[in-house]
């Protein structure tokens, strides 16, 4: 496998308003360090893709952003959100997760009705006024409403995989987060369902900031505005997606995206 200089990287300058930023973010699983000194700024209302080989640290990094690694890893450094370091111990992690939602790789709807999947999340967060309207809006924003409006009381588990994933997106956005994290949200879906999610993401970015981990480089190229390439826990390159996929700055990025890695 080719050796690359991990201490050198290229981080494009971000001039747009920032939704969330990491400063010197390190994640340790016991003694093993999974991400090294990640300094990334995610602009508001943009989609940023995190790419890299398995074990490159991209999912670990993503999960740190809304404190999902709290129980399993040690995370040092700053995660600056709305001028607050949300990586501090005294931060209310539930509030962090309400503001920074997560959609996982495998659709995980509750074994409840379609309606209740959304309503449950709303009730949990005390958002019980105008429940019907909130459910409808979430399903519309996740581009699922037209497909489920006549069967809201049926089980969410009766939906197809792609529909279930859009339901999970609807559930995540129902509580009106600011940022949506997506961990390989389409890797378990067929290409048509994947495209629907990608189209939905383009609509969602008008109101949300989206950070997505994907193994599908065509998806990163198609759907994101910015891309960060992770290698062995290091951010090697962070660039406009168009630039990264046409004229990458770092040899490791070039080799990875061209399939010449290793």
């Amino acid at each position: 496998m080719n050796k690359y200089t991990l201490s050198e990287n290229y981080l494009t300058e971000i001039t747009d308003p920032i939704a969330i930023e990491t400063k010197h973010l390190n994640v340790f699983y016991g003694k093993k360090q999974a991400t090294f000194d990640a300094n990334l700024k995610f602009p508001k209302h943009k989609i940023t893709a995190l790419i890299g080989a398995s074990g490159s640290g991209k999912s670990t990094f993503l999960r740190s952003l809304n404190r999902l690694n709290d129980e399993i890893a040690t995370v040092t450094g700053e995660i600056k959100y709305q001028d607050i370091d949300i990586n501090r111990k005294n931060i209310n992690v539930y509030e962090v997760r309400r503001q920074i939602g997560m959609v996982f790789q495998h659709p995980n709807p509750f074994a409840k009705s379609i309606y209740e999947n959304i309503a449950f999340a709303l009730r949990q967060n005390g958002m019980t006024d105008n429940l019907d309207q909130r459910v409808e809006k979430s399903l519309k924003d996740a581009a699922l409403w037209d497909e489920v409006k006549d069967k809201l009381t049926t089980s969410a588990l009766s939906l197809s995989g792609g529909q279930q994933q859009r339901l999970c997106i609807a559930r995540a956005i129902a509580v009106q987060p600011d940022i949506l994290l997506m961990d390989e949200p389409t890797s378990a879906l067929d290409p048509i369902s994947s495209r629907k999610i990608e189209t939905t993401m383009q609509e969602l970015k008008k109101n949300y900031t989206i950070i997505i981990v994907t193994h599908n480089m065509q998806q990163a190229a198609r759907a994101s505005d910015l891309t960060a390439f992770f290698h062995l826990g290091h951010v090697i390159e962070y660039n406009r997606t168009k630039k990264l996929f046409t004229t990458p700055k770092m040899p490791a990025t070039e080799d990875y995206i061209s399939g010449h890695f290793g």
Partner: protein, 224 residues
């Protein structure tokens, strides 16, 4: 061990090189036929154009398959796009060479202007050198040659302008040369156009190296 992609890219490179060599030969033969009044050679150039056109289609198909099936990015993508775009210009250069060959057939037998034919030979030599330089640069995708090509093209443009004046003066001095003169005007125009296509080839070299789409012939303005 080379991958399927690398093998196919190598074939594309070979297609392109073969096409470049054929087109360079077309220019040589068409202008030689014109200056030597060699109708037989001119016909050979005309007959050979189908092969160049066929090679262009083959190269395009090959490049499109690579893009659709291998989904190249970064340098690989830029290399394929450069070949794809350049092949169109090479094919047009071939068409212009055929245009010159056709002039050989039409102009034969009319009173001529030897001094103009000397200039045409000079321009041809210049153009072939430009084409060889640019094709050589394609073997390494080195865009350093681009400013030289632009300068050389400016010289071709100057030749074109001055030769036009010489031809017009020649017609006034000896109206019997009018038929040949109209042919000369056509030939120098075709040669000037070949120069422009070679500049396009240099532009794709710049794109390949930097990812920037540039218009070198005019204001060197970066388009995107």
């Amino acid at each position: 061990m080379s991958t399927v992609f690398e093998d196919r890219l190598e074939k594309l490179r070979q297609n392109f090189t073969d096409m470049g060599v054929d087109v360079s030969e077309q220019i040589y033969q068409s202008t030689k036929s014109y200056i030597d009044h060699d109708v037989k050679l001119a016909q050979q150039v005309i007959d050979g154009d189908g092969e160049v056109n066929g090679n262009e289609i083959k190269l395009e198909k090959h490049a499109m398959d690579l893009i659709a099936l291998q989904q190249p990015v970064a340098t690989d993508f830029r290399v394929i796009i450069s070949y794809l775009k350049s092949s169109t210009d090479l094919e047009r250069i071939g068409d212009n060479a055929v245009g010159i060959a056709k002039e050989t057939i039409q102009a034969k037998g009319n009173p001529r202007m030897p001094d103009v034919e000397e200039v045409i030979a000079k321009i041809t030599k210049h153009i072939r050198k430009m084409l060889e330089q640019v094709l050589e640069a394609y073997t390494t995708f080195d865009a350093l040659i681009a400013p030289t090509i632009v300068q050389e093209d400016h010289k071709i443009d100057e030749y074109y302008q001055t030769t036009r004046k010489v031809i017009t003066t020649g017609i006034l001095a000896n109206p019997e040369t009018a038929i040949a003169a109209s042919s000369y005007l056509m030939v120098i125009r075709l040669l000037e156009r070949i120069g422009d296509h070679i500049v396009n080839l240099a532009e794709y070299l710049v794109y390949c190296e930097t990812g920037k789409v540039v218009e070198l012939g005019e204001t060197d303005q970066q388009l995107s």
